[in-house]
Amino acid sequence: MAEKNRTALRISLIAIMTAVVAVFTLVVRIPSPIGGYISLCDAAVSFVAYAFGPVSGLIAGGLGAAFADLIGGYPQWAVISFIVHGLEAFLMGLIVKKGSSSIPMRILAAFIAVVIVSGGYLLLTTFFGLTVFSEAVLEVPANIAQSAVGAVIGLLLYSGVRKAYRPLDSLRW
């Protein structure tokens, strides 16, 4: 793409990937083996991080999760989701740099995602005083499962998309 002004491209990338994260969170639901549903929020967040790097990941991942909360009827979690998923995507994007993503690095990225999501919600919800610690601890196993599954699906998604849409890598900032 030309060296010229890329602002329009950045805005489009952020808007569309934010919407992708929100739609994955709200619409795509996989029945979980232990009952209930797993949302694909983390899969989309890690996909954005793998495909577009840390900065786009931070904005689109965080905003997408926040928009999903706002639309889904839980506006009180929007800020917390923004911080948690933004940070998740940012760190994953930093670890898995384009081209140099070896298997240990991917495992590390997935591990970081799990730590950030489960720890982040635990700390922030209690920090903001929107719940009590013992209740927040209860959510931890589900968050661990969801973010671990998400990191794997995100990776599968990334390799699938790259095969089908060749110009993918030219879209990074």
Binding site: A8, A19, V20, Q76, V132, L138, V161
Partner: protein, 245 residues
């Protein structure tokens, strides 16, 4: 998929200008952290309910709050109401069931969660998404951020719809005897379709003049009647939390 929670109405809160409304919502949420008296908890919890009831009616209010009830119950179940060392309020034989401190901390969390959620839901129920973005512009939200937000609101329902189309067409291609839809191919198709749109959308933005110099015609929103009075009310109501403590 419906991204807008807006409910058409002509109530007092609907007519409130979006700028003081945004300010009041944020101030109310922030000040709810400072409240520590039982009277304060009651105001934090019930004020949004009252306003919501007056602006969108009981059915919609119930729809919003019914989502929070499980959270309240879980908090009640998991909070140590019998906080050791507190002043006992309810005792059963020799067991202390509820203490003063325990009750206080439970009510604080529940009122804050309910109050902040209620205030935010009230905003989304009484203002169109487009108007909220315009209002945020008045608080110096950068133009490009507001533009992105407007576009996000277009793409969320569009991609939601696209996903159900993709899921449908996948199910049309299944072999005889198989039902449902394959998840990974479906989400891959959605991701590819979305990413394909990025360069097209960027070009569409520029073809519609994004990036031209000398933009004018982006006038601020007109001020309604009683604009300053609205600001005053928008400030006074949340600030009253400080008085009740």
């Amino acid at each position: 998929m419906n991204v807008s929670s807006y409910i058409y109405g002509r109530s007092f809160y609907h007519r409130f200008d979006v700028r003081p409304k945004l300010f009041a919502t944020l101030l109310f949420s922030a000040l709810s952290f400072l409240v520590s008296s039982y009277a304060g908890f009651a105001v934090v919890f019930f004020l949004p309910i009252l306003l919501m009831f007056l602006s969108v009616g009981s059915k919609e209010s119930w729809r919003c709050y019914s989502r929070l009830i499980p959270l309240f119950i879980i908090i009640l179940l998991f909070t140590p109401l019998q906080d050791r060392g507190g002043v006992p309020l309810v005792t059963f034989r020799s067991f202390t069931l509820v203490t003063e401190e325990g009750l206080h901390s439970v009510l604080r969390i529940i009122s804050r969660l309910g109050g902040i959620s209620g205030a935010l839901m009230l905003l989304l129920l009484t203002e169109r998404n487009e108007d909220i973005i315009k209002g945020l512009r008045a608080f110096r939200l950068p133009y490009n951020a507001a533009l992105s937000a407007s576009m996000i609101l277009r793409f969320i329902p569009y991609l939601g719809q696209l996903f159900s189309e993709i899921r449908d067409s996948m199910s049309l291609r299944l072999e005889e005897g198989r039902h449902g839809y394959p998840i990974l191919p479906s989400i891959t198709a959605l991701a590819v379709a979305s990413i394909r749109m990025i360069p097209d959308t960027a070009s569409a933005l520029e073809e519609r003049g994004f990036g031209r110099e000398g933009k004018i015609g982006r006038e601020p929103i007109k001020r309604p009647r009683f604009y300053f009075l609205q600001w005053a009310i928008g400030a006074i109501i949340p600030l009253s939390l400080l008085i009740v403590g």
